[in-house]
């Protein structure tokens, strides 16, 4: 942790920025030096920054232009008569002096009167669209500790304890000289209980108040090491409670403020800072005491969303050939921006800042600059003028933002030149620059990622790339392919090496570049709208009660933790702060069960019975909770009717004591029902999207409760709950199977004996035996109802769909047509098949998908077989387009070692094709080589006998350029064989014989690679062969052997046909590419592998044409 400056000059708003106040889920180092990692800025530097900005006349933008970018003006109002409503987005804490007077007349000042005290800073947007910062005063941090039974609760004892703690804190806190008082008071609570266990030993607590949130960890340490309590002889160690709650969250919970909710400042209770006193760039700057602020529950009128301003931007840099742009060397040449306001369909500002001239762009403001410095400074002014709440873009977090900041740093060293320090002022706090920090985010769900975290005070950075990676499983995450997937829109994927040429061209070339750049800025914003990202996050924050920033930068646990804390507060319960890793040795428990599949191709309908929200409903039905977990001693005092016994833990029934987790869950689920109802009745699209986001958030939150209890290194793990949940899950599944198979038999008067063919976690697949028709649906409905009756409320077995026909290949691998009504099937559903898995090439996905279509939909096995044969023979004859053979894999943990970027050798034991390739590409050209975290596309090329596959991986572009022969046989045996065997096994007798071998594999093509320096090819010469029969013919004797000459016409026409076919295909691909990129008169520069314009394919066909043409030219000789 850095400690660069020790002088702390603290005034309101410019003090240390402190986020949270307690343990952080992913950063185990927090305990001690928690919050000191931020640098303090002394005022002189800030003043200098501001002065420099004012001086900077040359790069300043016209004020009328600025107005157009900005927010609506604030009309004068009377703070004593008008309420202010703000939807908040970002909340943090700074230290500052206490208030001298409460803004509310006549009210007392709350909290400590000796500074510094924590001041909570809230940024948001008012319902009128004005930016607002609210400074909330008087909230004092605290932590709870279990008090021993022997402690005598008298005020003198508590005061003595306070003095004792104060003294101990003084010695523990690092910057002790800044404070006069450390511990502000100790309260004795005896109306609370610990959340752990049915009966608990912890029933009385000390609530200890301290000056700063940073004192909570030392406080915790003091109490766990042992304290000498007044009136007691021995030192005792006290269990800490809720000391790991971040300060901001603590405040939100105690004031019942939900994430991204509305806050109302009643008239007369707040004060508005004058323009001259302002410390921020916000239009409204308000002070209020924490008790006065009103938090609005997000229902009814208050479920609305403020007109939040969102900036989406993209930069272009001029890289050098062969190198990835580096901020130290390569200039930023364009920045495109798009500002939109929530609730307004079109962007309100669309502009592009360019270096050097650029032709006008329709609908976009073009701002040109002569120097890069000017460009950057103008953009900074734009950013401040636009005053956005949210900054988004595609990979802005790890590329654009750090690049701009690093670039400004590099430029500030260029002398003479303008002062670049104002450029970094992106935030809402005057004179405080944006700060970068490298972070590592590790989570079981998303893997390890290295990130740059940039703090821009008052604005939320929300990058669309990680969002897509987190929420959608795709084979490629380039902006291009993501947009193709969700928006049906393409953009040209211009390789960064071309950018430089365009920039060095004329105004028109730069215009072209600017058009791309603007599009790149627009797309993330559209994506955000289309996927309702903003709404979903706001709703998730509201449902779980955490700030939006937690959702972006932290994992799943904090959400559940927040819900539990809120509930506990109402129930007068306290959550213990358990030492981390108590269960780290991994008490593995049995997971979900899978009923063994009866592998077959079913040509009768298979009904699927699903448990609705299985785990949440189990927790409700059996009242599983921390508070209901009964110990053996408890059982002695309870009658057997009061609890449910389970091998993994015994839980008290709800009739005796209702647990908080079941309460949370039933609230979440009933809220979801309400949201779904509201969604149906929503008057407009925006309202509908909000309610949809809400119900999704509720569903996800309900499902994550189970995971929270099972996370071994979590905030509050409880394996007894988690393992009991899965145990009941298994029981339910088996009960259902038994019930169905016993009931639906011929003996009971049904037409057929039923059979459960497969079951997984929360669903069972039943074969009733009846042919497709209404009867199947009737039976299924009936079965679902019958089984549901066996289970306690609210566990519900639902019938939703029928598979017919159904191809069951293995556990978690099946395909079938899905029917929800008798008339028509809905779609084909495939699970665990190569169609959806990403580590396969397109060819496999296509072949499997088409075969399944033919088998399941057309019911034509023969045509499926002939289709597969055709594909195999095309593959062997090299007629396959290379893009269908490309496999992509991402460079993950372990790859650092292979790429020479550090890491540990033991993380990379088995050589992987894509990693080895990346290492080779790096040697070839460090610039275009894939980086860590990138997905590497590769194809398998032919190699010497016995060569390992990893040595045979090659970059597809390199393969195309050099005509490297592809190992078709490898694709057949390693990629196609297994999946084909799997799906055809239940259908065809002998897959090996019928599909994979035979005449169709006997016609092959062997490519001749392009000669490279030193390779054998540069010495070899082509010998003349007859075009008709391939026999050797003497040199210079034409192109046909004497026996084929008579067939010359035939052969010529054949070759001509080949050329025609290739040309035809190319022109189709070309016009398709033109259509996709919407341009007729310019070259398509797209080289993206995920793009629908099929760059690889175009290149391949181009080469085919060339080959055919050469063949044809032979006839002219």
């Amino acid at each position: 942790m850095s400690k660069r400056s020790t002088t702390t000059t603290t005034t309101i708003g410019t003090g240390k920025r402190i986020r949270g106040g307690g343990d952080d889920e992913y950063e185990p180092t927090v305990d001690d030096e928690v919050m000191d990692d931020e640098v303090d800025y002394d005022e002189a530097a800030m003043e200098a920054n501001m002065a420099a900005m004012a001086e900077n006349g040359e790069a300043s933008v016209d004020s009328t232009v600025k107005q157009r970018w900005g927010r609506p003006d604030v009309k004068p109002f009377d703070p004593n008569k008008e309420d202010i409503n703000v939807q908040w987005l970002d909340m943090d804490m700074v230290s500052g002096p206490p208030l001298t007077a409460n803004p509310k007349k006549g009210a007392t000042v709350l909290g400590s009167s000796v500074g510094p005290v924590p001041v909570i800073r809230v940024f948001g947007c008012s319902d009128k669209g004005h930016s607002a910062s609210i400074f909330i005063h008087g909230f004092t941090p605290y932590a709870l500790f279990a008090a021993p039974k022997e402690f005598e609760n008298t005020s003198s004892n508590l005061e003595r304890l306070r003095e004792y703690i104060d003294e101990r804190l003084r010695n523990q806190v690092r910057d002790a000289r800044n404070y006069k008082v450390f511990c502000h008071g100790v309260k004795f609570l005896d109306d609370r209980k610990s959340v752990m266990g049915y009966s608990t030993t912890h029933t009385q607590f000390f609530q200890v108040y301290c000056s700063m949130p940073s004192m909570v960890p030392p406080l915790k340490r003091i109490f766990s090491e042992g304290v000498k309590l007044p009136g007691m002889v021995e030192t005792v160690s006290c269990q800490p409670f809720e000391s790991n709650v971040p300060f901001v969250l603590r405040f939100m919970i105690d004031q019942e403020i939900s994430g991204a909710g509305w806050l109302s400042l009643p008239a007369g209770a707040y004060s508005v800072r004058k323009e001259s006193e302002k410390k921020t760039h916000c239009q409204l700057e308000l002070d209020i005491s924490y008790k006065e602020i009103i938090s609005r529950e997000s229902v009814g009128e208050w479920s609305k969303i403020a007109p939040l301003r969102v900036l989406s931007f993209d930069i272009e840099c001029q890289g050098r050939k062969g190198y990835f742009p580096e901020a130290e060397k390569d200039p930023v040449i364009q920045i495109a921006n798009c500002v939109s306001v929530y609730g307004t369909p079109d962007p309100v500002v669309k502009n592009v800042f360019t270096l050097k001239g650029c032709l006008p762009i329709v609908g976009t403001q073009v701002i040109t600059s002569e120097t890069e410095q000017e460009l950057l400074l103008k953009w900074q002014q734009f950013l401040q003028a636009a005053d956005v709440d949210i900054i988004t873009g595609y990979n802005v977090q790890n590329f654009d933002i750090p690049y701009l900041l690093d670039r400004a740093e590099a430029l500030s060293k260029v002398r003479p030149g303008p002062n670049m320090s104002p450029f970094k002022l992106w935030g809402r706090i005057k004179g405080s620059p944006a700060k970068m920090k490298d972070t590592t985010f590790q989570s079981a769900a998303f893997g390890k990622r290295n990130n740059v975290e940039t703090t821009i005070e008052g604005r939320v950075v929300f990058d669309m790339l990680p969002y897509m990676q987190r929420n959608h499983k795709l084979s490629s995450y380039t902006l291009n392919s993501v947009c193709a997937e969700f928006l049906g829109q393409q953009k040209e994927d211009v390789h960064h090496s071309i950018i430089s040429d365009l920039q060095n061209g004329n105004d028109e070339d730069r215009h072209r570049l600017a058009v791309y750049c603007v599009k790149d800025a627009l797309l993330p914003q559209r994506l955000m709208d289309k996927l309702s990202v903003l709404i979903n996050y706001v709703e998730m924050a509201r449902v779980t009660g955490v700030p939006v920033s937690f959702l972006i930068s932290r994992g799943q646990q904090i959400k559940v933790f927040s819900m539990i804390l809120r509930k506990c507060r109402n129930e007068k319960l306290c959550v213990p702060d358990l030492p981390k890793g108590r269960n780290a040795d991994g008490v593995a428990y049995e997971g979900a069960t899978v009923l063994d599949p009866i592998k077959k191709y079913y040509e009768v309908p298979i009904a699927t019975l699903d448990f609705a929200s299985l785990y949440p409903s189990i927790m409700q039905a059996y009242n599983l909770c921390y508070t209901t977990l009964a110990s053996p001693q408890d059982l002695a005092n309870l009658s057997p009717e009061d609890y449910n016994k389970n091998p993994n833990g015994t839980f008290v029934k709800a009739s005796k004591k209702k647990g908080i987790l079941p309460t949370i869950l039933s609230e979440l689920l009933s809220a979801r029902k309400q949201a779904k109802k509201d969604m149906k009745n929503a008057p407009n699209e925006f309202e509908k999207a909000v309610q949809n986001g809400r119900q999704l958030a509720l569903k996800v939150s309900a499902n994550s409760v189970y995971g929270f209890t099972g996370a071994a290194v979590g905030q509050l793990p409880c394996m007894a709950i988690a393992s009991t949940v899965t145990n009941y899950g298994r029981q339910l599944l088996e009960k259902t199977k038994a019930c169905v198979e016993e009931t639906y038999t011929k003996a009971n008067g049904y037409e057929f004996d039923s059979q459960v063919v497969y079951g997984d976690t929360d669903s069972v697949m039943v074969k009733f035996g009846n042919p497709m028709g209404p009867r199947v649906f009737e039976l299924s409905e009936e079965a679902a109802e019958k089984c549901s009756k066996l289970f306690p409320h609210p566990i519900l077995l639902e019938f939703e769909k029928v598979y017919y026909p159904y191809l069951l290949m293995n556990k978690k691998r099946y395909a079938g047509l899905l029917w929800t009504n008798v008339e028509k099937f809905d779609y084909m559903d495939c699970k665990g098949l190569e169609t959806v898995r990403r580590d396969n090439c397109q060819l496999v996905r296509d072949v499997i998908q088409t075969s399944l279509n033919k088998i399941l939909i057309d019911r034509d096995t023969k045509s499926a077989i002939s289709y597969v044969k055709k594909q195999i023979s095309d593959l062997l004859q090299n007629k396959m387009d290379i893009s269908r053979l490309v496999i992509t894999k991402s460079l993950n943990k372990g790859a650092e070692w292979a790429l020479g970027l550090g890491g540990k050798a033991e993380d990379y034991k088995i050589k992987q094709a894509h990693v080895e390739l990346a290492a080779r590409m790096k040697k070839r050209d460090a610039g275009s080589a894939p980086q860590m975290g990138d997905r590497v596309p590769y194809v398998i090329i032919q190699g010497p006998k016995g060569a390992q596959t990893y040595t045979k991986a090659e970059d597809p572009i390199y393969v195309l350029d050099n005509n490297v022969p592809i190992d078709c046989q490898w694709y057949l045996s390693n990629q196609l064989t297994k999946p084909l065997t799997r799906i055809f096994e239940p259908v065809v007798n002998d897959v090996e014989k019928d599909l994979l071998k035979g005449d169709h594999t006997r016609k092959i093509f062997i490519a001749t690679p392009t000669a490279r320096k030193g390779s054998l090819m540069s010495f070899a010469v082509k010998k003349a062969t007859c075009m008709g029969c391939k026999a050797l013919i003497p040199k210079d004797s034409g192109n046909l052997c004497e026996h084929c000459v008579c067939k010359e016409n035939e052969i010529y026409l054949d070759k001509l046909k080949n050329l025609r076919v290739a040309e035809e295909e190319y022109s189709q691909l070309w016009s398709a590419a033109q259509r996709i990129h919407g341009q007729m008169f310019q070259d398509v520069m797209c080289t993206g592998d995920g793009c629908a314009c099929q760059f690889y394919r175009r290149k391949k066909v181009q080469q085919d044409i060339k080959r055919c043409q050469t063949a044809l030219d032979m006839f002219a000789q």
């Binding site: 016609k1003 082509k1022 062969t1025 026999a1031």
Partner: protein, 261 residues
């Protein structure tokens, strides 16, 4: 109509052994002059060329030039069925997609015939033009094989240096280094088959991938001696003459020190 009979059928068996590790699919080109196979190995690093003159066969007939595509693995399976002493006859119609192989035992008490389905291989026909080489080494093929096998223990690349002293094969690897010097047996009284003859115009030193040299030594059984021809900066030729009928030649490009990938 194509028909060729070879009394010493084991030549074909040995030829296939010599080919099958390098070449998976190739064409047999038949003409009046004889049979030839020319193919690059699958990684396109080396090339092998087989020539069997028509006069080496007991009976040879080829009405028109044809090309017979085969898969070496499958052809190998069939040739396994022939005894080393069998006489082998190859037969194909002018536009057939089958190759008939007939195996006759020495005393004609067993005649078997097989049909191999042919492949349609669309590939360029490549060859290395004949050139004059600066040095030529003729040495016992077993000796060559042994050197290559020994050196492979130590490393991946082998330098062959021809000087007045003799031929030096050297290798450097993680384990250490190895050198084998083979002296010319000029003037020493030795059987022709065991002689080492160096014909040198000027000293040559080239480096090769041992993996491929090792593949070449699979042809050792075809003849007692091997002829290695080298010139600076051109591919080496490793030729195994096959008695009275032809040869198999392997070409391999030398490694360039700072070879670009």
């Amino acid at each position: 109509m194509f028909e060729a009979r070879l009394t010493n059928g084991s030549i074909l068996k040995k030829l296939l052994e010599a080919l099958k590790d390098l070449v998976t699919d190739a064409n047999i080109d038949c003409s009046e002059e004889g049979l030839s196979i020319q193919a690059m190995d699958s990684s396109h690093v080396s090339l092998c060329a087989v020539a069997l003159r028509s006069d080496g066969f007991d009976h040879f007939r080829c009405d028109r030039n044809i090309s017979l595509g085969f898969n070496s693995q499958n052809l190998g399976k069939i040739l396994k069925c022939a005894d080393n002493t069998d006489m082998i006859t190859l037969k194909a119609e002018d536009s057939a997609d089958n190759l008939t192989l007939m195996f006759e035992s020495k005393n004609q008490d067993r005649i078997s015939d097989f049909e191999l389905k042919l492949m349609d291989i669309d590939a360029d026909h490549l060859g290395i033009p004949d050139t004059e080489y600066k040095t030529t080494i003729r040495m016992p093929s077993n000796e060559f094989k042994r050197i290559i096998t020994d050196l492979q223990v130590l490393g991946d690349t082998c330098t062959i240096a021809v000087t007045k002293e003799g031929v030096r094969f050297s290798v450097t690897g993680d384990l250490g280094t190895g050198n084998v010097l083979v002296r010319s047996t000029n003037g020493v009284d030795k059987e022709e088959e065991e002689a080492v003859v160096i014909d040198m115009e000027e000293p040559v030193e080239l480096t090769f991938a041992l993996r491929y040299l090792n593949f070449f030594t699979k042809a050792t059984n075809l003849g007692p001696s091997v002829v290695i021809s080298m010139s600076p900066d051109v591919p080496v030729v490793v030729e195994y003459p096959i008695e009275q009928i032809g040869h198999i030649k392997y070409y391999l490009a030398p490694k360039i020190d700072d070879a670009e990938e």
